[in-house]
């Protein structure tokens, strides 16, 4: 079993497809992950499913790998299955979760923006330009920079879970570049395609961070590090990036007024 605990999750699923169903049963979304290099033991450790559920999950996985082996079934309260612990973040990670709320409001506008691009007889590029500006200045320069330049430095940046998040950032930037190219070349289909792809990518990315990465980080940060992070994030908010939050909150309200509340 130890060998499989130290094996990449994609490899384990490929060899034992039943493991995918077990993970899905606990709402662990590793199955469609494009990276899949996280080790099985880390996948179990970092997901916020409670200790009893982790023991039950490990039992089910071991039985899936070794059906004939006698494995001791853990005693668990069945009512607790698939009920995650309530997420309570440390103050600096709560700041990032709150920033996700504004980003999710933009993502919520994307389907309507794309619909307008496809259906309107006169193409209005302004909402797309506004969305791209928000993505670049708020989601990337303001929010992702806090993660890449500050938060991730407190952890092993080569860890699979961090690498998976960084890959998402890179892929997101690539979609944004293609949206801009599409605008420049008047290729509206490409604009729609890459804006939608960005929204889908970021929706999954935020869910992974809120539900897996940040709770795992909170478990591993010391009190001292939490204080340092909070101080550094506040320095960003009150330094060169002062006013960014308010400015882009206003931009989102404008987009929502046009695309969501009509």
């Amino acid at each position: 079993m130890q060998a499989y605990l130290n094996a990449p999750i994609k490899e384990v699923i490929s060899k034992f497809p039943k493991v995918a169903d077990i993970l899905n049963g606990y709402e662990i979304g590793c199955v469609p992950c494009s990276v899949g290099t996280c080790l099985l033991k880390d996948v179990v450790a970092i997901h916020n499913i409670g200790e009893e559920n982790k023991a039950q999950l490990m039992y089910e996985v071991e039985k899936a790998i070794y059906p004939d082996r006698e494995v001791k079934r853990p005693v668990i309260n069945k009512a607790a299955k698939a009920k995650p612990e309530i997420l309570r973040y440390s103050p600096p990670l709560r700041m990032l979760v709150n920033e996700h709320l504004l980003i999710k409001r933009l993502l919520n506008c994307v389907p309507a923006i794309v619909k307008a691009l496809k259906e309107d007889t006169v193409i209005d590029k302004e909402p797309v330009i506004g969305a791209v500006d928000f993505i670049r200045m708020y989601a990337d320069k303001f929010h992702h920079a806090k993660e890449e330049d500050i938060l991730f430095k407190y952890f092993d940046e080569k860890a699979d879970i961090i690498q998976a998040m960084l890959n998402d950032h890179v892929e997101g930037r690539s979609h944004v570049k293609e949206v801009l190219n599409g605008l420049k070349d008047n290729k509206i289909d490409a604009v729609s395609q890459h804006l939608s792809a960005y929204a889908e990518l970021l929706t999954g990315h935020i869910k992974k961070e809120d539900e897996i990465l940040y709770p795992w980080m909170d478990k591993n940060l010391t009190v001292k590090q939490v204080g340092e992070l909070f101080d550094k994030f506040n320095a960003v908010d009150n330094g060169l990036q002062r006013g960014v939050e308010e400015t882009y909150k206003g931009r989102i309200e404008d987009l929502e007024a046009k695309f969501i509340q009509k």
Binding site: S90, P91, V223, K224, G227, E228, F230, D231, N234
Partner: protein, 157 residues
């Protein structure tokens, strides 16, 4: 016959004489790195408070949590108080504010017992934080009166 006090903070409870087993080998080192410790007596100007991670503990906590020094005091600067019996609690609020603004402490961890009156110490910390110009992370840890277990541990601001 006197009536027994019903206040959970003062109600008599005998935990019995059963020996509690734990790893007791070797001599534990004290993690205290300052004096004084009582909140009325400490000065936010003291060098050991500057940018420190501060532990504000209710008096009784150290007697309940068996590994208080090793688990909670280590690496922290400490202040202790009794929110039920101490007078001058307005001064406590001002002192917390001064620790945040003047000593620029990094974090504040408030440890209290599970009895309701102990919750006032958390309230004092929150009032001190609200009055401060700086904001810092504040954690609350609640310890059970029997066995010294951690009943809750969460960031409250």
């Amino acid at each position: 016959m006197s009536k027994e006090c019903e206040c959970p903070g003062a109600k008599m409870q005998d935990f019995g004489k059963e020996e509690v087993k734990g790893a007791e080998e070797g001599k534990r080192a004290s993690q205290l790195r300052q004096w004084p410790v009582q909140l009325h007596l400490v000065s936010p100007e003291a060098p050991y408070f500057q940018k420190a991670d501060v532990l504000l503990s209710a008096d009784c906590v150290a007697y309940s949590a068996g590994d208080f020094h090793k688990e909670y005091m280590k690496g922290k600067t400490i202040a202790i108080a009794c929110p039920k019996l101490d007078e001058g609690q307005e001064t406590y609020i001002e002192k917390i504010t001064s620790l945040i603004d003047d000593a620029k402490i990094n974090t504040l961890t408030v440890m209290t017992m599970e009895v309701p009156c102990c919750g006032v110490l958390v309230s004092i910390a929150q009032k001190g934080l609200q009055a401060a110009k700086r904001k810092i992370p504040v954690k609350s840890i609640v310890i059970g009166i029997r066995g010294g277990n951690v009943l809750s541990e969460e960031w409250i601001s």
